[in-house]
């Protein structure tokens, strides 16, 4: 194991093996199963849609050329190459898609959710996780509801179409760019989603 100080004892080797498996599982995907944010998102979606709606999760790898195009247009990077996407089926038909991503606040990532109709309009959006001591006001429904009805061609501009928040300047601009970014992305990937 490369750790000679653990000694040759059989029991110790078993303990090391168990811990090693835990580490491998941790790095190899068990953290995905833990899914604190994902659980939160699914609770939000269940609350937003009726119990009869079927909600399924998938991970979607953004093709590099699309990712670069969108990042250039939105002036913001995706947190990862792989997006978490949910498909919402109501009355046997796909009615909405939900996507989450991060944008950067002053020093911490802000995790946000955007729910799109099948024609790319924003039905709902919410800050799923805000991690900074200042600027948490952007989580308020009165701020996030401003994006409802917007789509890829809408003007996403703080101070014009989107009201700012006093004391949360960095966060408001960053999340506005983030929501714009997902709105631009959605038409490119819609046909590839399950």
């Amino acid at each position: 194991m490369g750790l000679p100080f653990w000694g040759p004892n059989l029991m110790m080797k078993q303990i090391i093996n168990i811990l090693s498996i835990l580490f491998i599982l941790t790095f190899g995907g068990i953290s995905d199963l833990y899914g604190g944010i994902r659980e939160d998102v699914e609770k939000i979606l269940k609350k937003e849609f009726t119990d009869s709606a079927s909600i399924s999760h998938q991970k979607f790898n953004i093709p590099t050329h699309i990712k670069n195009t969108i990042q250039f247009k939105a002036k913001q990077k995706f947190f990862r190459d792989e997006l978490n996407v949910w498909t919402i089926v109501t009355t046997d038909t796909i009615s909405h898609y939900a996507i989450i991503d991060n944008s950067l606040g002053k020093s911490m990532p802000i995790t946000f959710l955007v729910v799109f109709t099948t024609n790319g309009k924003i039905k709902y959006n919410q800050i799923v996780k805000y991690r900074e001591p200042y600027g948490g006001e952007i989580s308020s429904l009165s701020w996030t509801s401003q994006f409802i009805g917007m789509w890829k061609d809408s003007e996403f501009k703080v101070g014009k179409t989107i009201d700012g928040i006093s004391g949360a300047t960095i966060s408001t601009h960053s999340v506005t760019k983030g929501i714009h970014k997902l709105s631009l992305l959605f038409p490119y990937i819609k046909s590839q989603l399950k």
């Binding site: 953290s31 308020s140 006093s166």
Partner: protein, 365 residues
Amino acid sequence: MKGYKLTMKNKLSIIACTVACFTFLSADEFFEAGTTIGGYGELHWNQAEDESGEKSNKLDFHRFIIYYGHNWTEKWSFKSEVELEHNFLPGGELELEQAYVNYHTDKWGFQGGVILPTAGLINEYHEPPLFLSVERPTYSKYIMPTTWFGNGFSFYGKFNNINWRIALLEDLEGEGIIFNDDGIFEKGNIRGGRGKGYKTTAYDWTKNFSVSYTGINGFRAGGSFTMNNAPINDDPVEEGTLGITMFETHAKYDANNVHAVFEYGQNSFDVSNIKDVPYTEDWTSSGYYLDLGYNIGDLVNCGKLIPWFRTSSVSTDTESDAKEITRFGLTWWPINNVAFKADYGTVKKGTSQDKEINIGIGYNF
């Protein structure tokens, strides 16, 4: 476990491994530990003329600040700001303006280290693109001093749209308020009482309470109350204390092209517990400022452009005349993080009147 014995080294290693496992397990794929660098700064050109016609002309890189933060987990982080004022030492100032460990959850948080008290709108939100004038308002120098920082800790939280914060900081420095530069007793202002985290005391702790409401987009309203028995020369027993209470209330609206700010503050100074003071009368200082502006950037298609007006009054002593300040300005943000500013103002005190012209550029990132 028969025939098996764990050494202390092995026990520690197992504990370390287990802790590491749980740490990674409790993290999620939406957070990565990491370091952030930011900053802000401002260059000022200040021209002034007093009533006798004497002129001054200064070009000053007033502030240069580097922000450094590190996130260990999504709850535990470190944040700091180091500031160089007036671009040179000695003469300017090098200050550790913030340096604290932060624990943050969805409902409440904790900060410990060098922190900012919540006193007025500008103290915590002092980056140059966030306020209109080239210089910070005179009120924010003598009534609610900025940047006011000190050693201490705070708890904060949020309930619906109400934000609250309780901070306990180092004592204020009584001698900095009641003595002038020559050591002569003089009823001074709160600015001289800031200890700035330098070998400070905590005999009485400065208690700072604040609440704010942010339930309407673009609107913030709140207030704070601060109190301390500030030791004189760090010796409350032999030299006594200066009793200080500070109160302020504020409101800001920045939406629908309207930019409006109002803040009123009052400080009370109680000299009854100072030993050997040649004066027994308490005093107060008070002031306000009101900013009104309107964004005409869309009309001229050039980003955000606000012509604005300020009226302000600042009185550091109930017995002397207040400074009455009127200022007009134009502030232009070509991008959100850069502001070009120009303003003209008059400062009246009694029968005297000074004129000021300021031009500046400020940024943050």
